[in-house]
């Protein structure tokens, strides 16, 4: 698939000298949902701001739909919709007017039917004549999305769309994102909720300290890096792991009542059968067995820890 957004050697240093982005390279494919995962202060918002034109790159280049965001900013920005992290809305305006304003700002002629359709899509239609300040927090977030969609963008950036949002609304937001994807919009969202990336993204990028650590297909990322653990509970505590079991690199719990074996699910042999045989030979009696798959969160924590 062709890249709709291409970021080449992007570096962004602020006036104080702080380097928010260090040589970032990123290709975003047309029609995908990419989740950018990273701890607070990793550079997620700076990356989005720089692509959208709010911040100026220190060096490097960005193209959106083949248009350079500096040299050909009008063509590039027409393709982009941005939903910011903060709820920034004019409190005294009506929902309809503020969404219609966004459409005009992006150079599209006034089209009330189109704006109404977007409001319907986001279940905001019955609030169209309400003033923004009368809306709930969740509704305001929807208005922000409606504003970003008002000019029918090809690429939508969602900066922490579900930060501080309750569980129900978060699920709701995921449905909205899925709808948008099916209508052909490319979506880039930043989040520090791993659960969110796991639930809706096609690919996941991990960013930390201004660098992209990896960008990978969600399924293959989890398969590749996913380790499984087998926990063996014993009937009697062991003080020491028997010598015959040394090759398995077992971890003994403090009380000596359980042993943990880590293995790679993608390996040809997991070694479970031989381990169980050897355990029996060593005279250890098993009470229970449990396996645990590592989640995206574990992978993420490992990755970020490595670079720390």
């Amino acid at each position: 698939m062709p890249a709709i957004v291409s970021v080449q050697n992007l570096r962004k240093a602020y006036a104080g000298g702080f380097e928010a982005l260090k040589s970032v390279n990123l290709e975003i494919e047309d029609g995908e949902i990419l989740a950018l995962l990273g701890p607070n202060g990793a550079g997620k918002t700076t990356l989005i701001s720089t692509i959208c034109g709010i911040a100026v790159p220190t060096s490097g280049s960005i193209t959106v739909g083949g248009h350079d965001t500096q040299a050909d900013f009008r063509a590039a920005r027409k393709l982009i919709g941005l939903v910011p992290q903060e709820i920034n809305l004019e409190p005294f305006e009506t929902v309809f007017n503020t969404v219609s304003f966004s459409r005009g700002l992006f150079g599209k002629p006034r089209d009330d039917a189109k704006v109404e359709a977007i409001l319907k899509q986001l279940s905001l239609h019955d609030k169209k004549d309400s003033k923004i300040m009368m809306l709930s927090g969740g509704m305001k977030r929807r208005v922000l999305i409606a504003k970003a969609l008002a000019h029918e963008p090809k690429v939508l950036f969602l900066d922490e769309p579900t930060a501080g949002v309750d569980v129900e609304l978060r699920k709701d937001m995921w449905d909205v994102v899925a709808d948008l994807k099916s209508s052909g919009v490319t979506i880039i969202l930043t989040t520090h909720y791993i659960e969110e990336a796991e639930a809706i993204a096609d690919r996941i990028g991990v960013i930390s300290k201004g660098e992209i650590l990896l960008v990978q297909d969600k399924a293959s990322l989890m398969a590749q890096m996913g380790r499984k653990q087998l926990q063996i509970e014993l009937t009697q505590a062991v003080d020491d792991i028997p010598g015959s079991l040394k090759t398995y690199a077992l971890e003994r719990a403090e009380d000596g009542l359980s042993l943990t074996y880590s293995y790679d699910t993608t390996g040809e042999r997991t070694g479970i059968t031989t381990l169980l045989n050897d355990l029996q030979k060593a005279g250890l009696h098993m009470k229970d067995l449990q396996t645990r798959q590592s989640s995206l969160e574990d992978i993420f924590v490992d990755l970020v820890k490595e670079t720390a």
Binding site: G53, L82, L105
Partner: protein, 253 residues
């Protein structure tokens, strides 16, 4: 050129003005009437005539200028400061518009509002004094240029201001004194010679003088000098805005 965007900003800003229509019209009409009562009736009864014009009529151009300059400045500075304050500026920065189009939208709306109020004051003054306009086209041209140039300055103040206090600071400490001391309510020929010379450093003198000329055909300074002054002021503001545009000063990181 993204004309849709310029028009969208203009209409959005004008809507804010019409939403507070009563306040926008009633307050200038009321304050103008008060000026007429205080200056025209109380003081005017002692001054009688200035350069062949009744004092009540003489202060009309100054009164219009006073209101137009403060209104254009405050409307434009608030117009661009408010999105900065509530955070909606992100949308202006990420939209496919150049900074000059943003300026055209905000400054255009602020200048229109100021002009509107200026004309309301002119109409109100017809009820109080006998006034005729010697050069109507020049009068409209001066009014328009003043509205635009002060709206440009207001825009710069709005970009510069970091809080509401700073937003009020320049209009309060610089513009109001310059306008009051710029001959709004008197002819500079009424001043002692030394103050007549000092007053010539006040740029507002040239604007009020030129505007008054378009009403009565007489002026404190030559009309050419007035035109030059307003052109210089507008040019200065435009140059500053161009510099903001180039550097992203206080708006783009």
């Amino acid at each position: 050129m993204n004309l849709n965007a310029v028009w969208t900003i203009y209409i959005f800003e004008m809507r804010r003005f019409f939403r507070t229509m009563t306040q926008s019209i009633v307050s200038p009409v009321l304050s103008t009437s008060l000026y007429f009562v205080v200056f025209g009736t109380a003081i005017g009864s002692r001054i009688q005539e200035v350069e062949g014009t009744s004092y009540g009529a003489f202060i009309v151009p100054g009164l219009i200028m006073l209101t137009v300059m403060t209104q254009a400045t405050s409307n434009a500075s608030f117009g661009i400061y408010f999105p900065k304050f509530i955070g909606t500026i992100y949308e202006l920065l990420s939209a496919p518009i150049s900074f000059l189009e943003v300026v055209a939208g905000y400054v255009g709306a602020a200048a229109t509002k100021a002009m509107f109020i200026g004309l309301i004051i002119l109409i109100t003054s017809f009820f109080f004094v006998d006034i005729s306009i010697a050069h109507p086209i020049a009068m409209m041209a001066f009014l328009t240029l003043t509205c635009i140039s002060f709206a440009l300055m207001g825009f710069i103040i709005g970009i510069w201001a970091g809080n509401f206090e700073q937003l009020q600071l320049i209009p309060l400490l610089v513009i109001t004194p310059l306008v009051f001391l710029g001959g709004s309510f008197y002819s500079i020929s009424m001043l002692p010679p030394i103050w007549q010379s000092i007053t010539l450093f006040n740029p507002v003198v040239y604007l009020i003088s030129g505007f008054r000329w378009s009403f009565f055909g007489t002026a404190d300074v030559s009309i050419g000098l007035s035109l030059f002054a307003i052109a210089l002021f507008t040019g200065g503001c435009l140059a500053f805005i161009w510099w903001i545009f180039k550097t992203g000063w206080r708006i783009r990181q």
